[in-house]
Symmetry: C2
Subunit: 243 residues, 2 copies
């Protein structure tokens, strides 16, 4: 099923939250960014008036929040689970920065349910919980003081998800029209072919150039029109008009 | 004076904060992102044990926080002041999204002091306060529920400032080395010259192509090595090696 809004396909899971105020603040953070599915794994106090007080206008998100006995139950039905963590783990799960994690989550969430998982305030996620996830997302904090409040981490991740889903608003207020996966891939093929034809890439000596260029353009999240312009530039440079 | 770390040249100003807990949470948010200058314009309760409780390990930021009588006093010595706001204002101050505002602030903060200003929890900033700023920054929230908690807004902006200042960490954990302003400008000149030479751009008919391409590459925040690769690609496509 294609989600009209990928944010509606993203559930946020808080594991073992100690302070109910953090649950309320997380609900508010989610709602400000257009997210609304909150799951609570074994919260220490819930429901709680402190949670309601800090949710302010997001009482509806709290009211719909589902309490689960364990993370396994909270992840049921999700196609992609991402764990938010501040430190590297001794587990074979790849780690990326928050922005990249958000882009990948939104891509999957356009067609399938996705989960973003946060740990307890003091102990974080257990190794067993992390192993249930396919990706680690880290918010690049100051290594000298990396202890984000859990609701603040939810706010940052929810913000990145919203930006990734809706695209940044253009200066004229119009939403950006992102290029599709296929359009971007055809652009990369065009670029690589032209680089091979010009002799810049040597088919006998593969280099890291294409991965570097992909990383650059992926970071920019290309718009449809930009892909057309770039392909026009590649074509023109390779086949100059004789004037 | 060139700041070794532009984040040390950025002060965050909270105006008329009602809840001391928000001051404490803002101090923690700043410290997690490597910022540390907090100024408080006419806070309703400060110092306050609630602020200290929520600052957790950022007590030092609170202890150094300076209380000012008005925004004018808090902005003394700053070269660029940005107001964080959720709504358009009837003032002639341009508004950009959080990400772009952070990039502009960091650029200025490399050489001069910069200020980021937040309003009161319920009434925001006054028109008089906004008029003291040169730019409005808005966090693209859900229009249906755009009320971010002030400490959550501080967290998001501080996060964007950190990303803009230090660059995203590469997958291998190494920091990104951003291209300088001059390197990026020389790349744009090279690109434009090649587009003119190939006939893709017609000097008699200026188009929006170069501004569009600039916007794309500015969004990606080019690294030094990427600028070299891109210039290599432009050169090779225009002058294919005969094999």
């Amino acid at each position: 099923m294609i989600a009209a809004d990928p944010l509606k396909n993203i559930r946020v899971v808080l594991c073992g939250t100690a302070h109910p105020g953090n649950i309320g603040a997380a609900a508010r953070a989610l709602k400000t960014m257009g997210l609304g599915q909150l799951l609570l794994v074994a919260p220490q106090h819930f429901p709680d008036p402190q949670a309601e007080w800090l949710a302010v206008g997001a009482i509806d998100v709290l009211a719909r929040a589902r309490v689960c006995a364990n993370l396994d139950e909270a992840l049921a039905g999700s196609a992609f689970a991402v764990a938010c963590t501040t430190r590297r783990r001794e587990v074979a799960v790849p780690m990326v920065a928050a922005r990249e994690a958000a882009a990948r989550m939104v891509e999957v969430a356009r067609t399938q349910p996705v989960a973003l998982v946060f740990g307890n305030e003091t102990s974080g996620l257990t190794t067993a919980e992390v192993k249930l996830c396919q990706l680690l997302a880290t918010i690049p904090a100051d290594p000298e003081f990396s202890s984000l409040n859990v609701a603040a981490a939810v706010q940052v991740m929810a913000y990145e998800l919203r930006i990734a889903a809706l695209g940044e608003t253009m200066p004229d207020g119009k939403p950006r029209e992102h290029a599709t996966h296929e359009e971007v891939e055809r652009f990369y093929e065009h670029l690589e072919r032209s680089m091979l034809e010009s002799g810049f890439l040597n088919p006998g000596h593969p280099t890291k150039l294409m991965p570097r260029l992909r990383r650059l353009f992926n970071r920019a999240q290309l718009e449809k029109e930009e892909v057309s312009i770039l392909r026009g530039v590649i074509k023109a440079l390779g086949h100059p008009k004789r004037r």
